[in-house]
């Protein structure tokens, strides 16, 4: 059963029948987390790096920004019994247009702030698939922790 994580959305579940899935990641970033013991899975699809852009929008929807969405994702997983030290983290997205001058570098900025937040909090990325001009679908099976990336009908395991 698919539970769709929309753009600017976060979902966490301990239902082993659920696949968390988010479509069309462009410069946005999808973060999939999984605790293999508690069998808790979570997924965040954030749009923009910093909530200082619009504190009001961040208050209405924490998942819009990296700096409010990432804490929300982890806290929601802890509430279902996940433990920080056990959590496996996989990351996808951060694409850009064909852009030699870095004119629109939302993707890059989204990725840099993620690294910064993870570094500050001692969280390691297990694997990632970022950059390029791709549109990606990110999928996490809560039963097995298997994470896949799909782009133009090509699926790879992350």
């Amino acid at each position: 059963m698919d539970l769709v994580v929309d753009i600017a959305d976060v979902q966490v579940t301990d239902n082993p029948r659920v696949d968390l899935v988010t479509y069309s990641l462009g410069s946005c970033i999808g973060v999939a987390i999984w605790d293999p013991e508690a069998h808790v899975g979570g997924m965040l699809h954030y749009m923009l790096p910093e909530s200082s852009l619009s504190p009001e929008k961040a208050k209405a929807n924490a998942a819009m920004f990296a700096d409010t969405g990432i804490p929300r994702l982890f806290r929601s997983a802890y509430e279902l019994g996940a433990v920080k030290q056990r959590i496996i983290v996989k990351v996808a997205g951060g694409s850009s247009l064909l852009d030699d001058n870095g004119t629109f570098n939302i993707g890059k900025r989204n990725y840099i702030i993620l690294r910064k937040i993870f570094w500050k909090n001692g969280i390691l990325i297990d694997s990632e698939h970022v950059g390029g001009a791709l549109s990606r679908t990110l999928r996490l099976s809560v039963a097995t922790g298997r994470v896949t990336i799909k782009n133009r009908n090509r699926e790879i395991e992350l």
């Binding site: 239902n15 749009m47 064909l98 549109s135």
Partner: protein, 294 residues
Amino acid sequence: MTHAEDILARVGQIPPLPGTVVKLVNVLNDPDSTVNDIVETVKYDQAVTSQMLRLCNSAFFGLSREVHSLNDAMRYLGTVKVLQMVMAVHSNALLAREQAGYGLEPGVLWRHSVAVALAASAFAERINLKNVSLAFTAGLLHDIGKVVLNQYVADAFTEIVQRVTTNRISFSEAEQQVLGFSHEEIGAMVAEKWQLPESIIHCIRYSHEPDRLSPPDGLVDTVYLADCICMLLGVGLGTDGLCYRAEESVMKRHGLNEIDLEIIGAQMMTELKRVEQIFADTSKTSIQAHSVVR
């Protein structure tokens, strides 16, 4: 018949734009038009008027009293909102179908088009263009060529993608090389056939390469930037992904920076969710049906 002739014949077969839309676009394009002209244009369109009233009376707006006429709707919601809803309703019929050649499921091209329309209006306001509603309409129609080219892209997909990846060219450039036309060029031809104003035809033709138009045009730039932010934020992305060129000059021309883009992106997404909610409230099928489980 050659491939190119076949595609051109397909442009000739595209059904006409509903009369209301053509008139409305012309009213919008005329700097001397008034709110009354707009009401006059829309009120004879029964289908749209009844759908408009249903939308206005939907739970989402939570109006304390029922709206019975277009004039009421304009009074409670404002002219711009009503116009946007009229255009959104009409474009739904044009754009809602699946476009498998571009990997767009049912409803996704329409969702992308509404998002670009909303963002184009926001950019138009940001750079002080007078005609925000025209930017909305141009944004809504910018990808109309995909509807015509869809089947041809599906047939030649492997070759197009191969050129995109090996030659590092844009998806449009690859379409041009393989099929003889890009979806922007075909879209502009459709708009010409519909006898839309030149300003809108330009927005479609140069939607991925605004610098090809000389001198540059603010309206074209707003549609270009709107499309960029919607692609970046992944609203209605297809298999062409983000394989289009970023043109630095457009941002410079209007003194815009990354933060302006992000602000408009966040605003667009909030408004898009609102529009989707309104449409979902009034039809059984949500635009993007989500199954909620826990």
